[in-house]
Amino acid sequence: MEKELRLMKGNEAVAEAAIRSGADAYFGYPITPQSEVIEYLMAQEPHKRTGMVVLQAESEVAAINMIYGAAACGKMAMTSSSSPGISLKQEGISYIAGAELPCLIMNCVRGGPGLGTIQPAQSDYFQSTKGGGHGDYRLVVLAPASVQEMYDFVEIGFDLAFKYRNPVMILADGIIGQMMEKVEIGPQKVRRTMEEVIKQCPWGTTGKPTTRERNIITSLDLVASRQEAFNLKLVKKYDEIKEKEVKYELINCDDAEYIIVAYGSSARLSMKAMDLLRAKGIKTGIVRPITLFPFPSKVLFDLADRVKGFLTVEMSTGQMVEDVRLAVQFKKPVEHYGRVGGVIPSPEEIVNALEQKIIGG
């Protein structure tokens, strides 16, 4: 069969992937720069294509709680938003993590804090990778750097969410969401039947038959010792995720003397900068974390033995740089370069930053 290629926006690719991956539901609330997700879904009428439920909720708060309700039935549910809306969802995300429910959340990050700007940023790294809401929990965070990855990470994200019964976040930004690129579209997966849902998720609240005890979905335990045990169980799960699910891309690292660490659209900008640097004879490589949690610490730790320094490029005032420093453990200098508030760093600026902060420094 000839593969189907389409030119799509990142936001549209996420929406199409949700339908194709056999998702049961999408609940969301419009916000720039990701409103195309729900617009595309509504235009596609997925209730006719696959029976998927799509609903525009009254708020981001309601939307994430609809996700909770759906996920607690073992259903494949996703939501998307952009930074201010993701902040609103944090309460629900914490409950979802606390109740160990699988779901997918896409954040098309824009500049902040507050209402900020509608233009691209990567300033929600801390929020996404360190918890975000209250309590000790982690999300699995995937960082797409292309529209194809926006598409692919939906199915991968759902798989991880169900494998670990944990919320998964696709951390994109306004560039990835708004740009169009070539996307190879996968085949339509059939949505699970109710019997299959119950088989895959025997813990789901699908109505208590006489053959089992009642299923309760809650994040509450008033007995401190039991809550502690639960927290430690989560730690064990996160440790397993750290061991098994780290993903990253190495670009020209074999002979590199300098490493740029960048994820998402910053990695794309950095690839251009790398070309410019190599044209000047400066052997530069890129480590592109694909999972931000779990973070690819080991590869950075190992690279530190044979390179001269690291520059992180982020559209933030310096967030991932802390994880890179932790990974490198002061073996080599690690500096940060970023533009913020919706300003996008140019490849030339990245070149200058590496020359001044790392080579010159």
Partner: protein, 180 residues
């Protein structure tokens, strides 16, 4: 081959759709493509621009500060992007409403009076296709058959009867373009 293009003009001139058809044409002939619109405050001033990259290789940054080609449809965009064309690059513009014409000597400059021509023909809606035709005359990076395929993909099926009109506009643009 990598071609990095900025298309800029007023909102409503079909800047984004021209870029989309160009990108789709590249996709139809098996190339890597990216299409990145401005969606920030610039839109509020009525200007609109899109960066289109067509390449045989994996595309790095979808956002650029230097372009192989600038396709310019208003004065603000000319003022902003003329200096961003790479030395030896190409600038194509429509002189309609332009009071300060391009001045650089180290790039190739072309013009097409597409606004005037489209108005004369009563075909303002395909104005952007004339400009696209002019560009393809200068830089035939995509084959015409792939442009038609791209058009079919970009235009909703209910408007496919308009494709011959678009094709004709592309041909007119190819004829009308002049080197300055």
């Amino acid at each position: 081959m990598t071609e990095e293009i900025i298309i800029a003009g007023f909102g409503g001139q079909g800047v984004l759709s021209m870029g989309k058809i160009l990108a789709y044409s590249g996709l139809m002939q098996g190339q890597e493509v990216s299409w990145m619109p401005s969606y920030g405050p610039e839109m509020r001033g009525g200007t609109s621009n899109v960066t289109v990259i067509i390449s045989d290789e994996r595309i790095s940054s979808p956002i650029l500060t230097k372009y192989d080609t600038a396709i310019i449809l208003n004065q603000q965009s000319l003022d902003k992007f003329e200096c961003m064309v790479k030395p030896g690059g190409t600038l194509l513009y429509d002189p309609n409403g332009i009071t300060r014409h391009p001045e650089r000597k180290d790039i190739s400059i072309y013009k097409v009076a597409a606004t005037q021509k489209a108005t004369e023909m009563g075909a303002v809606k395909v104005f952007n296709m004339m400009v696209l035709g002019s560009y393809l005359k200068i830089k035939p990076i995509v084959k015409m058959e792939n442009v038609i395929k791209g058009l079919k993909k970009s235009i909703p099926a209910r408007n496919h009867h308009l494709i011959p009109m678009n094709e004709q506009a592309i041909e007119i643009g190819m004829k009308e373009v002049q080197q300055v």
